[in-house]
Amino acid sequence: MENDSHVVTFAKMAKEMNLGKSVALLLSGLMLMFLIAPIIGLFASVNFPTLHETIKDNQVADSIGLTLSTAAITTLIFSILAIPTAYFLARKKFIGKNFLLGMINIPIVIPHSAAGIALLGIISRQTMVGQFAQKIGIPLLDSPIAIGLAMSFVSVPYLINTAREGFAGIPVRYEQQAKLMGASSTDVFFRISLPLNWRYILNGIIQMFARGMSEFGAVVIVSYHPTTTPVLIYERFTSYGLTYAQPIAVIFITICLIVFVLLRKIAQNSYANS
């Protein structure tokens, strides 16, 4: 009798476990559907003759080239500033550090159109910076420079945060050991801290690049022409409607996916080697 009651209890437990599993599966399924469905819908509803036409459209090709190259170049340039900043923030203790860490995240938390307006307040022709740039012949507004600045403004915090987290995770003892062997602070940074933090930095660079090339709000404020792809998609949508915006979106998403799969692959290979 007693054994029977155990069997019943086990059966009940198994039933409950199955039920729990089913609920979890259902919830995860819904979540994933929400994320994937719009993309699949987009690819499914695209009109092939228009897609073909769009691929041959020079304006689209130019905008994709401009978006990818500007995002890549600014990511690389700003890495030179962001990585030492991240190291400084990870290793140094100073008054107001928490305040500064909060400030770094401001571009992420404010609306990106507001970020664009804030940036415009510095680089517009009325400002000192704008006037100086104009004097030496560098156009700031409506130029790849403006696009790069807007992209970086909203995306560089991702790199700083990720790299800082990585530096903070490196035990200080390795740096102390290197110093005891005669290494200078610069040696320690380039020979110990940087290579040990390579994974986090690479991850941060990928995040910054991704965030930069998909930026719309801040970019559209500082540069409508030349036009980046996110701005072009919006322009086609408002001027010609969904049918003409969808093909560019499909092409851009495909290129983004290819770029990211490649970058992840490179990152994974470098992890495996390190």
Binding site: Y174, Q177, G182, L196
Partner: protein, 328 residues
Amino acid sequence: MLTVKNLSKKLDNFCIDNANLTVPPGSYAMILGQSGSGKTTLLNLLCGIIKPDFGEITWNGASLFQRSAEKPVISVIFQNNNLFPHLSVKQNIEFPLHFQKLSKKERANRLEKAINATQTGNLLKKYPNALSGGETQRVALARVIASDTEIVFLDEPLSSIDVESKENLIELLRKIHETGKTIIHITHNVEETFRLANYLIIMNSGAIIQQGIMDDVVNHPKNNFVAQMFGYFNFFESCDKFGQETIDVFKIDISSSPFIIHPSKIDITTDYQHNSIKTSVKDISRTLNGYYIKVSTNPELTVFIDFGHSFLKKSPCPGMVCYIRPKH
């Protein structure tokens, strides 16, 4: 000569208070103390990782920290080795050589010498995460040999490695010492101390209790703490409590103190012998080589008997009557 004068450092829950130290050049000095005695804090002060609140550390008259990168004076192996995880064994051993002004030939010689001395030739391409405990220590020692500094600090290098590796490392440490280096080795292990040291520094609760040439410290422990460390369980600050019979039999000079007698220097039998004290067994504790027996004299004395001792024809048990006298 490594000299430490009035070194003090107050940390959150610990302090090194007015430490003074002199280590003659070429010594193998052991800093012996239990965990929490301040050994590692002292090491961190000595190698400059933490700055003292007060005091100075000098090597041959000049501050230990006014050293040039090209010719560093100290090298350190910390408890967790600190082999750089992103560098191969070879790159780890070579690391300190990048900062010393050496010709290509000198650098190659140093590397070869370090690899040969530590027998790490078969590990060169490996990364630290693929090494065993003993191999890791050998690579860390190779890095020290390559540095070729006058002073080597070691923080518990023999803990947490297997017995066979330990024997190899002890041999290696002796060889490094024979090249004329001054070694300062931190440990809590008395056996390691006896096997390696010729100079001894004993620490407790952030203070240096006793220091000096190994034999002097071992034979003349300054207080009960040091005496117990070396198995001198019969250490008495004064002879006031001794009964007349004990004073007579052990020929104790009551005018001098302390009175120390090693447990192995006391003879114990179950039959009466001339000029001995009748007593009884109070407590027994077994060791690797025999027993420590506490006998009820006034005050209590501890006697060591080894397994070959005739006393063991009868197993010792509490209450057993026995006779003790000093061994001749």
